[in-house]
């Protein structure tokens, strides 16, 4: 597998501009001759689909929900970063770039991150023009707040629903192009296969989830904007439908999968409460601006939180990280919570939780002041837990939230399969080993509005139209494969539900490849995954038929891919014997139990290549160069 990152040289602030100039252009009159498939309708997919259509390409957009507006970008709460420096607090493109590289624990590509920081400002302009009702100051200008891990206020927000508002903006742009006849939507349609012929992506095979019909779609380029794979852990903050199938299928067709072990565990989620639980609910980490995190000093202290006097409380983040306190980056906060719980000081009935206490904030700001800032989050917490967080400290626990790993892409956002692009959370490019708060929205929209529309033109101008249509044997083969898989799943007629396998897999990964990973735990997981897989294909029960809406069948197909994918996730975690960002290897920590990187051996992106069913995948590396941000041990003390 050849990994040519195509990263430009020269002064970093000029790289993207110079590069854009070198890209080949498609003549305006020729754009309408190109068909582009976009899979996914979240921030990345919708913004890309809309922009490509505006440029004149014919876009077909596929998504499994009933409307593009439901993609899980909608659930992002906190905000979106941009280097506007409207606050005059010393922010700049360079600082955003630097913070992102550092926050990612020096495991991201500098050129990509700089470009991201550079276009971040255009995103805000674009969204404002679309009518996104960002929060405003009384003077009418855009308001900002600070967000976990940043020391400037660069986060733009729309109450606690920033993701929703940005997605509705992108959705509206997409729908205006539907109206213009340049975008065709395929709702309730799931991508099952990527079709590659003669070394180029030619289209996809999909299943219409309402009729069960398996269909081929040929195009000149395929864009995967299919999000992350956090649901491999079963319990995560992702939507129930989020899955790895599209990305994993592309991997099987030759796309390198980069850094699958980089998963972000978000520190402020509502703790698990029972076996039947279907998902975890995140609460914006903006809560950490005013909430104080603590656990009892004593082990096994079962007193009610308000009965525990101040001097018997351990405000562990404030003590260990005096300069950042409760605002340390996500990976650090999550690990510290896990440590406290491992020591037997966790709270709640399961012992898996820490307190996030607003007692001081209520005293300082009054209940109304707190309500003004966090009312909707408190409301949500109360609805789920039936506890009043104004009176009783919230209980929180980390949960899988975001996956920094994804399909490997070059500077053009193209995977190792020519013509197959990956954008947003589906690719691996910008966040390194840990993503900073409010950066996911930024990356999704940067890719879709401002990067891919340029780079895809170069590919199309160079490669021309695809000559392979859906009658080609590659398509019929892919259709047969996809249909065969559906038949196989339906034909097992065993005893266990797809969800029961998913739960088993998720628990295995969470226990062995979650917030802390060791050689031992990872090997244990690797030994167990094939057993799960074996039982899955022998004892699965899928009711109903393939020719109708069949949610059990959909789940089964996704779980099958999760099981296969879990293996490369664990293998990647095993091979990376250093700790970095969200990937914490117990064997690699400093004396103060902080993550310890090993730059000599691991300053690279690990890229996995599929070698065939039953064969071990091959690990490749793309060396990372740091010319501007000199890697140092991250310290938030």
């Amino acid at each position: 597998m050849k990994l040519d990152s195509k990263t430009p040289d020269g002064p970093i602030e000029k790289r993207w501009d110079d590069y854009k100039f070198q890209l080949k252009l498609v003549n305006p009159a020729n754009k309408r001759k190109f068909d582009i498939i976009v899979v996914g309708s979240g921030l990345a997919g919708a913004s890309a689909g809309a922009t490509l259509a505006q440029l004149g390409y014919n876009v077909r957009c596929f998504f499994y929900q009933d409307s593009p507006r439901r993609a899980h970008s909608i659930a992002a709460q906190g905000g979106i970063n941009a280097a506007k420096n409207y606050q005059g607090d010393g922010d700049s493109v360079y600082r955003l770039f630097y913070d992102t590289v550092k926050g990612g624990d020096y495991r991201a590509r500098e050129s990509n991150v700089y470009r991201l920081a550079e276009v971040s400002n255009h995103i805000i302009d674009q969204c404002v023009a679309q009518g996104v009702p960002f929060a405003r100051e009384y003077g009418g200008n855009l308001a900002n707040r600070s967000f976990g891990g940043a020391q400037v206020s660069r986060t733009f927000y729309a109450r606690g629903q920033t993701g929703q508002q940005l997605l509705l903006g992108a959705y509206s742009a997409l729908m205006s192009q539907v109206n213009a006849g340049k975008v065709k939507l395929y709702n309730r349609t799931e991508m099952l296969e990527l079709v590659v012929a003669d070394g180029r992506a030619r289209g996809i095979v999909t299943r219409d989830m309402v009729t069960g019909k398996i269909e081929s779609h040929a195009a000149d380029a395929v864009v995967l904007a299919t999000g992350g794979y956090g649901n491999v852990f079963y319990l995560s903050t992702n939507a129930k439908g989020c899955n790895v199938t599209a990305a994993y299928r592309a991997y099987r067709k030759g796309a390198g999968f980069a850094n699958p072990c980089y998963t972000q565990i978000h520190p402020t989620c509502i703790p698990v409460h029972g076996e039947y639980q279907s998902k975890l609910t995140l609460m914006s980490e903006s809560l950490r601006n005013d909430g104080r995190i603590w656990v009892p000093k004593k082990k096994g202290d079962t007193r009610a939180p308000l009965d525990i006097p101040q001097d018997e409380r351990d405000y562990y983040l404030e003590l260990r990280y005096p300069s950042f306190g409760n605002l340390v980056p996500r990976d650090v906060a999550s690990r510290a919570a896990k440590k406290a719980c491992d020591e037997g000081r966790g709270v709640g009935s399961t012992g898996l939780g820490v307190y996030l206490d607003f007692g001081d904030a209520v005293e300082r700001l009054g209940e109304d002041g707190v309500r003004e800032r966090y009312g909707n989050l408190f409301h949500m917490y109360e609805k789920i837990t039936a506890e009043n967080p104004y009176k009783v400290p919230m209980r929180i626990f980390p949960a899988v939230h975001y996956t920094m790993g994804g399909l490997w892409v070059d500077y053009n956002l193209m995977t190792t399969i020519p013509g197959c692009f990956a954008i947003g959370e589906a690719n691996f490019s910008d966040h390194g080993a840990n993503r900073l708060g409010a950066s996911a929205l930024m990356q999704g929209l940067a890719d879709g509005y401002f990067v891919l529309p340029y780079t895809i033109g170069d590919y199309l101008a160079t490669q021309g139209n695809s000559s392979v249509n859906t009658d080609d044997k590659h398509f019929t083969q892919a259709v047969d494969d996809a249909a065969g898989k559906v038949d196989r799943l339906l034909g097992i007629k065993g005893k266990r539900t797809p969800d029961s396998f998913h739960r088993e897999l998720g628990k295995l990964l969470w226990d062995n490849c979650g917030m802390a990973r060791s050689d031992e735990s990872l090997n244990a997981a690797l030994a167990k995954i094939p057993k799960i897989k074996e039982e899955f294909w022998q004892n699965l029960r899928v009711t109903g038929s393939g020719a109708e809406l069949n949610q059990t069948l959909e789940t089964a197909g996704r779980v099958a891919d999760f099981i296969d994918f879990a293996e490369i996730l664990v293998k990647d975690a095993l091979a990376r014997t250093e700790s970095c960002g969200g990937h914490f290897r117990i064997e690699s920590q400093t004396e103060e139990s902080e993550a310890k990187r090993n730059d000599d051996e691991f300053s690279h992106a690990a890229v996995w290549e599929y070698k065939g069913e039953g064969e071990a995948p091959e690990r490749h590396t793309e060396a990372l160069r740091f010319e501007y941000c000199k890697p140092s041990q991250r310290s938030y003390k």
Binding site: D66, S67, H72, A129, Q130, R159, S176, A239, Y276, T543
Partner: protein, 246 residues
């Protein structure tokens, strides 16, 4: 907790009916959808087809879920989507009716799953500000009063779940349509297309086969985001104004 469910089951192209299921031993901390998950798992174990229902984010924001529970869209708790409704809100041993959104414009696909593409059609007709990517002026070039931005945000919160239509005695989509029209009419960015937007969106709404608003206010009561029916008056005003000016 134990419940008796009366759930609407309907296969494509056939007449549906209410079927009774026992849901025993449900945790009071389970959400309504988690309760359905448990029922479904047990159905699969008995080799029966599980109940099809739409859901995705399960945190009240995607708008995918929604059923009429005991006669209320998203259940009886105010300002709540079905995924955020918890079983502790029901009394032990109670009978719970679960029906799909019912409207001609939202045909049933299967069981509790309905087709809400009509909402997309309304937005497609004009629920946007046309702006080419990359051609926007600076975000602070046009100051917008905080009150205006807040008012726009109040309506922009709509999640497009369809509860307003489901709860409306007339199956009208006026609250949904008015929320988008209001958001864009309030903001200075939305002025250029304001007249055509009102015309096109209302006509798309009519074409989809929704009923007429007769100001019952059930939409506002059912709306999980508590969007006010005052917006419907604004829609009417926008439509009348644009009809005169066009």
């Amino acid at each position: 907790m134990d419940f008796t469910l009366k759930v609407w089951r309907q296969k494509p192209g056939t007449q549906g009916k209410l079927v009774t299921y026992e849901a025993k031993g449900i945790s009071s901390d389970a959400s309504f959808l988690e309760m359905l998950d448990v029922v479904n798992e047990r159905l699969i174990e008995k080799n029966e087809e599980p109940i099809a229902f739409d859901h995705d984010c399960r945190e009240g924001i995607c708008g995918m879920c929604g059923c009429v529970v005991n006669g209320y869209a998203h259940g009886h708790q105010g300002g709540t989507t079905l995924c955020q409704l918890h079983m502790r809100e029901f009394s032990d041993g109670s009978v719970i009716y679960v029906e799909p959104w019912r409207a001609k414009a939202f045909p049933v696909i299967k069981d509790l799953v309905v087709n809400r593409s009509a909402f997309d059609a309304i937005i497609t007709a004009g629920g946007y500000i046309s702006i080419r990517s990359g051609s926007a002026p600076d975000g602070n070039a046009m100051p917008i009063a905080k009150e205006t931005a807040d008012a726009a945000m109040d309506v922009a919160e709509c999640i497009g779940c369809g509860a307003c239509v489901a709860a409306c005695p007339n199956a009208s989509a006026m609250l949904f349509t008015s929320a988008k029209i209001t958001q864009l009419a309030l903001l200075p960015q939305g002025q250029a297309e304001r007249m055509t937007r009102a015309q096109r969106m209302v006509r798309a709404m009519e074409a989809a086969g929704f009923g007429a608003c007769t100001n019952h206010g059930e939409c506002e009561a059912a709306c999980p985001k508590e969007i006010s029916m005052d917006n419907i008056a604004r829609l009417n005003r926008e439509f009348i104004g644009s009809s005169i000016k066009k």
